[in-house]
Symmetry: C2
Subunit: 222 residues, 2 copies
């Protein structure tokens, strides 16, 4: 019980800082997306392909969260986007990005010069879903190699997101995987979810995902 | 800082309970393996195939950790192994199995009648690595679809394990993936790691993995 009380206090502090972040992001009319997934579901490649299509018209920046290494930031910097890498091993090896970390990381950007700020969270289908970082929307990437049942096994993640990408569909021919069942499992947890079927290798399915993103950016601009 | 102090206290309590578990497991000479991975790396299928080969000669039980659902326990029960499902949503939605949870779950078994107890941890490449549950050994399953760089991005997991399975090698022909680089990244973090290349679809590579397991079971029996 002690443990639960303590976690509650940490989350309360996080909520206050997330509210501060949200106000700063709103003042600058920058759309902030929290992108989450298991390790290796394809977040970084998705961002490389997405940014290549929307920049420089959409002025974009990325905060990349990893426990260790700057691999992902190095890859994303090549897109021309402004990139800040957060290594959570400097914050006790955290398994998620918290609001205070996003606050500090976003100080490196002039938010008024941005239309889009994407936070690529630590690869983890559990903990990041518990931490509000002041974002406008959340999206989850689920590789089809992970099996159909992950939405019902990790329901919080699918409850808090507005968009889900069933990614790596180029591998469907080589897997025993029922993508309709996966989509149905997502809708069972979250009937309102926008579901996209994507391959960053072939480019299939990226257009509707980018339309979703652009619509949200435009709405934030007002 | 407050947050870090609190985490330390939780880990101290866990360490005490893990020591208690370890003594119980030693008294019964049951070999206990903590099996970890990202979501969807193939832990449950690996266990299905492994148990089918070693039972009933090796008397086996499994504790299955998931946030929600009894899907995995239902699958594993068909192998004939004794299975206890832990749903961590009853423990605050925990992202890992802690020692006290394993203690409670293992009360359902007569440990003296077992040679092998496998704990299939919650699918998460981060947090489970931080929690000693009183196991004799730890193994990590890494799907080749997750990319080569995961060992250096999630180093703690690879530091605390004694065996790593590079799984789903039946998909190698369809991926841009350098398995030598992945193995090298593992050795960079943990030069002592036993590394296996496995496919639960074709059965390739399962023999050496099962030899590793049997050797550890035999050593525990003394």
């Amino acid at each position: 019980m002690e443990e639960i009380k303590v976690v509650r206090r940490v989350l309360d502090v996080n909520e206050t800082m997330a509210t501060n972040n949200r106000k700063r992001f709103s003042d600058s009319k920058v759309f902030v997306l929290n992108l989450m997934s298991s390790p290796g579901a394809g977040k970084t490649t998705l961002l490389e392909k997405t940014l290549a299509r929307i920049m420089p018209e959409t002025r974009s920046a990325v905060i990349v969260g990893d426990i260790c290494t700057t691999n992902d930031a190095d890859r994303l910097a090549k897109t021309g986007a402004q990139v800040v890498q957060v290594n959570t091993d400097e914050f006790g090896g955290d398994c998620h990005l918290a609001a205070h970390v996003v606050e500090k990381a976003s100080e490196g950007f002039d938010l008024n010069d941005l239309d889009l700020l994407i936070v690529e969270n630590v690869g983890n289908l559990v903990c990041p879903a518990e931490f509000d970082i002041g974002e406008d929307a959340r999206a989850v990437v689920l590789s089809v190699t992970e099996g159909e049942d992950k939405p019902v096994k990790y329901p919080l993640m699918f409850r808090v997101c507005q968009a889900a990408l069933l990614n790596k569909i180029d591998l469907l021919n080589y897997l025993e995987y029922d993508i309709e069942e996966a989509a149905e499992n997502i809708r069972q947890i979250n009937p309102e979810m926008a579901i996209y079927r994507t391959s960053t290798q072939t480019g299939e399915g990226l257009d509707p995902w980018i339309e979703w993103l652009q619509a949200h950016i435009a709405r934030k601009k007002g």
